[in-house]
């Protein structure tokens, strides 16, 4: 066996208990770092996935960023007007299918229109307020998770009868309606439509399940009292990172306000960055503290072995060789601690991943853990670097011992 390694192992073994404590320190540092990183990145990815998956990447709404110009402004260019009564423009996106056709021609992704209406749903003399969203079943699947959230029916069932409706499961429960029942939907203007329940929705978010209902576009348009107009276009793009640019292009082309998921969640995304910064600071601090333990052990060993160092140097060992003995000892602790820490970190991630959180507002969820070799490599790298530094400082001091002083003292 290599001489330096041989001596290093002997030293480490002679201080077994302290070495194990130091090793545990490194292992804990690495383990908790891996766990923290897995948890943080897991929740971040989960969060972004929910943002990106559950919601459309770009939402085009019937708003405009600037109020439409008034005819008077076109006429008198120098003055600003205030208090003008607006033109009676109906809110909504006009000619939705023409816009869809033009977007389809260049957009890599999918577009689906929707209409919003408020209504009261009545069944067997019980009523409840609901949001009725009119959708295009053929396009909806490409932009939302709605098809997967349906129970006892599919989106296609909306075509089955003239006024088919899908109800949130809690909403249906509240009024006691089931699939196949006929319910009354009352619009805000007092119009009453008779609809057949064709499916139930379970999204897991109670707010949605209690208030949402889906119909075909035309049914919702009747409830909203507007024909030929939709309220929003939801767009999914193939490259989610390009959503911001695409939104800009769509807005320029159509004039309707188009908001990308990044723009909609700007503050959340910057909060995530701050969170990451805090995480890396904490992880770095944990590993730094762990390296204090290593420093302590190597210092102790070098003090105990001063005579051995003097002997080795008198025999003709160079300072470099002596230094490498103690540096190696620190690395042995660092490497063993890192390996153990990886196992510990993985176990912690697994354990946290099985924890179930129950909430009255959501379905039971597990902590989203993310497993990445990068976390392990990063924690290991920091731990080893810290160990090397923690070992180098006492090693350098030990190697500079003057053998004559020790030999004189011991003789």
């Amino acid at each position: 066996m290599n001489l330096v390694l041989d001596i290093a192992l002997t030293h480490v073994r002679s201080r077994l208990r302290q070495t194990l404590v130091g090793l545990m320190g490194v292992a804990m540092g690495v383990g908790f770092s891996v766990m923290m990183a897995g948890l943080m990145e897991g929740s971040q990815r989960d969060f972004v996935t929910q943002l990106v998956d559950a919601l459309p990447h770009i939402t085009m709404s019937d708003e405009r960023r600037e109020p439409p110009r008034q005819p008077a402004e076109d006429h008198y260019q120098v003055v600003a007007f205030s208090g003008l009564s607006t033109m009676a423009t109906r809110p909504g996106i006009k000619n939705p299918y023409a816009i869809i056709a033009s977007l389809d021609s260049w957009l890599e992704g999918a577009v689906a229109p929707s209409v919003q209406a408020r209504a009261v749903i009545r069944y067997a003399s019980r009523d409840t307020a609901a949001n009725v969203t009119g959708i295009d079943p053929k396009r909806e699947a490409a932009v939302s998770k709605l098809p997967e959230q349906l129970r006892q029916g599919t989106l296609k069932d909306l075509y089955r009868s003239s006024n088919a409706i899908i109800l949130g499961d809690r909403l249906a429960e509240k009024i006691g309606a089931r699939v196949g029942n006929t319910i009354a939907v009352v619009s805000s203007t007092g119009r009453v439509l008779t609809c057949t329940v064709v499916a139930l929705l379970h999204s897991g978010i109670s707010q949605t399940d209690e208030t949402q209902a889906f119909t075909l576009i035309k049914t919702a348009q009747i409830l909203a009292g507007q024909t030929g107009i939709v309220n929003a276009m939801r767009i999914r793009v193939a490259d989610i990172m390009a959503a911001r640019d695409i939104a800009g292009r769509i807005e320029a082309q159509t004039g309707y306000k188009s908001v990308s998921w990044q723009e909609a969640n700007e503050d959340l995304l910057s909060a995530l960055e701050i969170r990451n910064f805090i995480m890396y600071t904490v992880v770095g601090a944990i590993l730094l503290v762990a390296s204090f333990g290593t420093y302590n052990i190597i210092s102790t060993i070098t003090h105990e072995k001063t005579r051995d160092i003097a002997i080795l140097k008198s025999l003709g060992f160079t300072e470099g060789t002596v230094r490498s003995i103690f540096l190696l000892e620190a690395l042995i602790i660092g490497i063993a601690g890192t390996l153990l820490g990886w196992v510990l970190g993985f176990a912690l991630c697994q354990a946290l991943g099985t924890l179930e959180f129950k909430s009255p507002f959501m379905d039971a969820t597990r902590l989203p853990m993310y497993y990445s070799p990068v976390h392990y490599a990063l924690a290991g790298l920091v731990a080893l670097t810290a160990s090397a530094i923690a070992g180098y400082l006492p090693a350098r001091k030990a190697a500079s011992v003057h053998p004559v002083e020790i030999i004189r003292g011991a003789s």
Binding site: L3, I7, T10, S14, R307, D308, I311, L312, K313, S314, L315, G316, F317, T318, E319, G320, T321, P403, V404, I407, R408, A410, S411
Partner: protein
């Protein structure tokens, strides 16, 4: 054409070597000493306690550097500023035996003897082990090769230390009171080993002792008083 002079180069030569320590209050350990250690010579250094015997030995053994004057190994000046170079010279050419055995207590006698060979790295593991075993056997320690220093007697430890000093076939053995801690029988054994080394392998030995009877058995006897050589 060069003419080969029939003069041997001294193994170690000191030229007007002085060693002072301490800044502020200076202590002179060794004063203006010039001496030569020739090949195949057994030199004894004696003197009163505190006269500078050990200090002189450390200078001869390149463990210490002089404050002024020059040290030459095999005719070449030893660089005072390169500890690495002096370490290399110690490893290849010099062997030390001290009053205290200075063995590594966690390693067996055999491993201790192998240490300098492994540091030099010129032999295979097998050859190192064979040589270490042979050295221990020649010192009557074949039965104790695998014992730890703590399991050996004082005389046995000192012989292990001698075996270790001999590991790399050094030109000079420097011994500082090698029999200081031993009874007369063990002392006799150690001295016999050193004597044999000089007589049979033409190595040189420099031995510091306060025992004049031992010193009388050396080829040459050097006295030192208050850091100075006296003839």
């Amino acid at each position: 054409m060069t003419i080969q002079l029939p003069v041997t180069t001294p193994l170690i030569e000191l030229r007007h070597v002085t060693k002072t320590i301490g800044d502020g209050v200076e202590t002179t350990l060794v004063r203006d000493i010039s001496m030569k250690i020739e090949p195949g010579e057994f030199v004894a250094i004696t003197g009163p306690s505190g006269s500078g015997k050990s200090s002189l030995l450390y200078l001869l053994g390149l463990l210490d550097v002089p404050t002024s004057g020059q040290v030459l190994m095999q005719g070449r000046p030893v660089p005072a500023d390169s500890e690495t170079e002096r370490a290399r010279l110690r490893l290849k050419l010099l062997g030390f035996v001290f009053q205290f055995h200075f063995l590594l207590v966690e390693f067996s006698a055999l491993t201790n003897v192998m240490l300098p060979m492994r540091a030099l790295g010129e032999r295979s593991e097998r050859a190192m082990k064979d040589r270490a075993m042979k050295l221990l056997t020649s010192l009557g320690l074949e039965a104790h090769a695998h014992k730890l220093p703590g399991q050996l007697s004082g005389g046995q430890r000192q012989r292990v230390a001698i075996a270790r000093a001999l590991a790399n076939e050094p030109q000079v053995i420097l011994a500082d009171e090698p029999t200081g801690n031993l009874d007369s029988a063990s002392s006799e054994q150690v001295l016999a080993v050193l004597r044999q080394l000089v007589d049979e392998t033409k190595r040189s030995v420099v031995m510091v002792t306060h025992d004049l009877a031992l010193a009388a058995r050396a080829d040459r006897h050097v006295r030192i008083v208050d850091g100075r050589l006296i003839d």
